[in-house]
Symmetry: C2
């Protein structure tokens, strides 16, 4: 029978999203049998991140300071504000090197069924930020899912009422795809959004 | 841009088996945004398990003491020794309540291609245990995979040479299955192993 600290580890691993009891057991076994250094590293990283990470007072992303490095960067174009759901989405946009403006990270999306409303995704802070006088264009870069589209719609309408120019990332055929293999909905959107 | 302790957390989560950079990012985001208590719990559990867990001096499974609770249990039938690959396999057998003997946990399986030989799965300790005078029957309960079968074969032959009775879990049709839907190999084995 496994001892109590092994059971405690398996239970704690189950707090990770998408990890059930079998995966948690496999993870615990791997760390204890083959990678105790990794277990120690992960323990330290969890401890440090969960105590140090706070939200940037300007863009809401995770940061260790009061304001994140992106918001502090004077090279950034303050007239553009790009709205994304998560830090991972922001990182994906940064990797393209096609955008040099500022960001607002919702840290989620509107999802009434899950009880996630405007307050949970910091909309008051977003409206304050977007109407600071410097921002001229807000680019909605939430995901192209039902919830991401609904979130973009709600935010877009509210910002247009405040007199801001609002744009949305183009929907279309992914670069490098052959039309034959692209799904119908994507082709239909690419036709509607044709330039 | 994510700060350094977020990147460190994502990197550390990638030490978990089957976790790539996208899954690690999703896990880090979930813990920091929705479950910091879970992050702290997991940090403590990793720390405690990785410093406290050692191997039972009798059966080789994980334990916090010198000898595990199962080996210490006087109610266990010392004449039977069941050999399994991992603590999870042992737990699966225990759940059946059909076995009340003792165990030896290999903490792995023979896998020459991965450089895992007899020393890595504690065969010397197993042979010592199996020939302690009390053990009369060794039950091979390694998995029914190519490597598990090879491991059972090697151990079984060595123990038979030492004069022990060696048995293997029966291969056969799973309880509740309809033959029509059972794969051919399983049916063939069930025919060979028929009682
Ligand atoms: Zn910021
Ligand atoms: Zn033991």
């Amino acid at each position: 029978m496994p001892d109590s600290s092994l059971n405690a580890l398996i239970e704690a691993l189950r707090r990770l999203p998408g990890v059930g009891v079998k995966t948690a057991s496999r993870m615990a076994f791997h760390l204890l049998q083959h990678d105790r250094e990794g277990a120690q590293l992960l323990a330290q990283a969890l401890q440090q991140a969960s105590t140090r990470m706070r939200h940037c007072s300007l863009c809401h992303t995770f940061t260790e300071g009061e304001v994140c490095a992106t918001c502090l960067d004077p090279q950034r174009d303050a007239s553009k504000l790009c709205i994304v759901e998560t830090p991972a989405d922001q990182a994906a946009l940064e990797r393209t090197a096609a955008y040099r403006g500022r960001y607002f990270v919702l840290m989620g999306k509107l999802s009434p069924l899950d009880g996630i409303g405007p307050r949970d995704i910091g909309l008051a802070k977003l409206f304050e930020r977007a109407t600071d006088g410097a921002v001229q264009e807000v680019i909605l870069a939430t995901n192209f899912t039902a919830e991401g589209e609904a979130t973009a719609h709600v935010i877009g309408e509210a910002l247009k009422q405040r007199g801001l120019k609002v744009t949305r990332l183009a929907r279309g055929v992914p670069a490098g795809s052959e039309l034959e293999y692209v799904d119908l909905g994507t082709i239909a959107h690419a036709l509607v959004d044709r330039r």
